[in-house]
Amino acid sequence: MAGKIDPMHQFTVEPLVPLHIGKYDISLTNSAAWMIATLAVIIGFMALGMKRQLVPGRWQMAVEGLTGFVDDLVKVNIGPEGKKFTPYIFSLFTFILVANLLGLVPLAIVPGWHTFTPTSHFSITGVLALLSFSLVLIVGFWRHGFHFFSLFVPQGTPIYMLPLIIPIEIVSFLVRPFSLALRLFVAMMSGHILMDVFGSFIANGFASGSVAGWGVGIVSFIFIVGVGALELLVCALQAYVFALLTSLYLNDAINLH
């Protein structure tokens, strides 16, 4: 009677439209479909709000709030030099935010459907992190040439500490793309696993029909409401942290501490 709990099933990438060219498999997967949906939501949200009215309506206020938020983030963390990176940080922030939130839409009430969170896969977050990291490298070497390597020598370090400090700084620099990608991917994945496990507790508890089963089901239900609210917070927080860290790294590359 009790179904087996399989929390990893929701992360399977399945082809929706099979497409093969030669030996390459370029099918449209559910991951790609949800990324397209994310893009559609962002474009729709922006297009409805970019009206440039002198007295903004509600929708225009929402769009201006979002762009103003990212603009402030970049201005505070990079300074006036960072203005040209605002579009990149904005794309990053909105893509991660909307992809995270779309993954929480309770679409599974339609039998056979379920949402898919592209950001719960390391291949997606890894590419985003590599984009940020290569941008930091390109900007750093473009502006400072080989002087960029002075990033590894913090100012005012005593000479005899340098052999210790430089390897630490190099390792902490090289680990950045990995930590960026890992943080987002694991945060989204663990949240979805948690929700799936407790969702299964509810279903199996009520299906068992015993008093203890009902007790477990009710407690799990109360718990999952709280976890759902927490997940909404985590979605926004992880998108913010990704954008914040990217702008901090860009600040390092532009202003060299």
Binding site: L182, S190, L248
Partner: protein, 75 residues
């Protein structure tokens, strides 16, 4: 003890690390609130550092979670 049960015990032990990260995250936010209530005017300017500290503390806990997943699903 067979390998399958050792694997489960190892994954459970690895999950302890997430609790340690909880202490770290609590410390970050607790200290922030502690000083923000002493000087509320300066609190808003430090939000970037607050979330930076949160992100760094949280990452180490997520590492423990990753190790647990690796033990469970890779080996």
């Amino acid at each position: 003890m067979d390998v399958a049960s050792a694997k489960l015990i190892g994954a459970g032990l690895a999950a302890i690390g997430t609790g340690a990260a909880a202490i770290g995250v609590g410390f970050v936010f607790g200290q922030f609130l502690n000083s923000a209530l002493r000087n509320p005017a300066a609190a808003d300017g430090q939000q970037g550092r607050l979330f930076l500290g949160f992100a760094l503390a949280e990452l180490l806990g997520l590492m423990a979670f990753t190790v647990a997943l690796l033990i469970l699903f890779v080996f």
